[in-house]
Amino acid sequence: MAEKGIHIEGLSKRYGEGDTAVLALKNVNMHVAPGEVVGLIGPSGSGKSTLLKSLGAVIDPTAGRMTLGDEVIYDEGWKVPDLRALRRDKIGFVFQAPYLIPFLDVTDNVALLPMLAGVPNAEARQRALDLLTALDVQHRAKAMPSQLSGGEQQRVAIARGLVNRPPVILADEPTAPLDSERAMAVIRILNDMAKKYETAIIVVTHDEKIIPTFKRIYHIRDGVTHEEAGEGRGFQ
């Protein structure tokens, strides 16, 4: 029986061929349950980004199996035919920098994803406004991204990641540009949203401040992961 959340088994990724081949991921296993927020930490060059790109269906793993809920995404070379639709509907992304679309206002930045999925504009905007309200940035709904503070931008980016109710969110250093207070606020929001929407969230981070907040942490070094229990402080 398939496990809920995101699950990977024996995931490997090799770049190049022959003598120049580099094995960036080596037999990685990982499971993140719905409503859970886990940390993924490791030094530069350890394979974090490769793992994140594989989980995000941006690059194809060389071997291994990945499932998202009941749906098999990769299985030993086989992959879902439409990865673009998978990313749109099933995976939310939150980046180190918010990367909001500068020419769309806050509401349309969030509503764009459901619009791309074919949701009518009015319904997509309502869905966006509900999320912005949940993240307490509804008062900036008509503002342009350049008019927002760093914290507000990151909350809008989280709303964008959540708007299509994806079963998994991949957050790449979401607190890096923020001060301690705002970083903790973002992690608190991610935990709240994970519980509220039953979303599995994987947070890639170097940020010492937020590492103690995870209940589970995956360490990665030289393409190999190992799991350990985190302190889970503050978000029990």
């Binding site: 995000g56 673009r84 990313r87 769309l104 349309d108 250093e173």
Partner: protein
């Protein structure tokens, strides 16, 4: 679905408007160039229309009187008048030269017409905007207003001075030079009139020639010198046909019996447009092609730059599942919008600038419509490079590492 292109344009409207303005000036030049060609064609047609002729009788085997020099005896018009189907005939001379307006030179086509005819004789200016037609045999002139002359002004042609008694409009040569009408005899004289030194030298040479200065033939030398001082040639005979006469038939009859070359209106139009301004048309065509290439290069460069500025946003859009065609449509719509802005600016610029050009610039609606669609096609093609680049963007670029 919202219009990503529209939102981007609204967000950075200043960049689009200023770029569109620059492009518009280029498009304006292109429209004016097309207008210059149309003006040349229209000048040619106006020349034929305003001559009031149905047939042009010229020297045999020449393309005269506008495209080549042509010389006919000035008494030929009488025998042509007697041909079946011919209603009126008129001698005419054409001479492009610099005429004096005070101290200034004015380039114009001096037309010799027979004065004193009934109103509307072939070769005459068909309408006047001021003054009257030429009634005297000498030293009166009717000038096109483009020459800058006013009623009562004096025009100096060669050694003679003419009084402007009438002003006309839109009477130009095929190269756009405004016309000055003077009496035929004066025009014939002006064609070959030399300065006093040249006349004296010519007489001396004639006297020194034993063939003309024979002691046994008194009066021969005087007769030769007199013949050298007069010009009994005209450039063409303009023919107006009787109602119902077929131009081709009358023309064929004159060719056959008078052994002259005769052109109908359509043939003369073919000479003017197909031969006389053909080189200019090719020149303008080359300019239009170059301007189109430059416009395409500018649009391509601008759209490429604007797209390069959005690489990260495009990567994010692709990562979150935006279709390639949505991104391609965004870029192409921006290029088309730039073209529309540019065309609007260009059309306005051309409309206001056209009257300022020294030559007649005729902006025709069908040229504007064709130009508009050409701009859209050029912009669409110019966006291809940026689209190719955008489609190559890896969504992984949105994720660090």
């Amino acid at each position: 679905m919202i219009s990503l292109a529209g939102r981007d344009i609204l967000h950075s409207w200043g960049k689009f408007v200023f770029t569109g303005f620059g492009l518009g000036l280029l498009i304006g030049v292109t429209l004016v160039m097309a207008g210059v060609y149309r003006g040349m064609v229209d000048d040619g047609k106006a020349l034929l229309d305003n001559s009031g002729a149905d047939l042009w009788v010229v020297q045999k085997d020449t393309l005269g009187p506008y495209a080549e020099s042509s010389s006919l005896n000035d008494d030929l018009y009488r025998t042509i008048l007697a041909m079946p189907g011919v209603a009126r005939t008129a001698n005419v001379t054409y001479l492009t030269m610099q005429v004096k307006k005070g101290e200034q030179d004015v380039r114009s086509m001096v037309v010799g017409i027979v004065p004193g005819e009934a109103w509307g004789a072939p070769g005459w200016p068909p309408y006047l905007v001021a003054g009257r037609q030429i009634t005297r045999g000498h030293y009166e002139a009717v000038a096109d207003i483009a020459t800058g002359f006013k009623l009562g002004d004096y025009i100096r042609i060669r050694r003679n001075q003419y009084t402007v008694v009438g002003l006309t409009r839109r009477m130009v040569s095929s190269s756009g030079d405004p016309m000055v009408f003077i009496p035929l005899k004066d025009a014939q004289e002006a064609q070959f009139l030399k300065d006093n030194d040249a006349i004296w030298q010519s007489r001396r040479r004639t006297e020194a020639n034993p063939a003309f200065n024979r002691p046994g033939v008194p009066g021969l030398l005087d007769a030769v010198i007199a013949s050298q001082a007069t010009n009994s040639y005209v450039n063409a005979v303009l023919v107006r046909l009787r109602a119902g006469a077929a131009p081709d038939e009358v023309a064929e009859s004159i060719r056959r019996w008078k052994r002259l070359t005769v052109y109908t209106r359509s043939q003369m139009e073919g000479i003017l447009i197909g031969k006389l301004i053909a080189t200019s048309a090719k020149q303008i065509g080359m300019f239009l092609a170059i301007l189109a290439i430059v416009s395409a290069a500018i649009v391509a460069f601008i759209i490429y730059t604007l797209t390069m500025d959005k690489i990260r946003e495009i990567a994010v859009l692709k990562l979150i599942g935006t279709r390639n065609r949505t991104i391609a449509a965004m870029i192409m719509q921006q290029a088309l919008a730039l073209g529309v802005i540019g065309f609007a600016v260009g059309k306005i610029t051309a409309t206001f600038a056209a009257p300022l050009f020294p030559k007649y610039v005729l902006l025709m609606p069908q040229d504007s419509i064709a130009g508009f669609f050409a701009v859209l096609v050029i912009c669409a093609l110019a966006s291809v490079i940026a689209i190719r680049m955008a489609l190559k963007v890896d969504p992984a670029e949105a994720i660090g590492g």
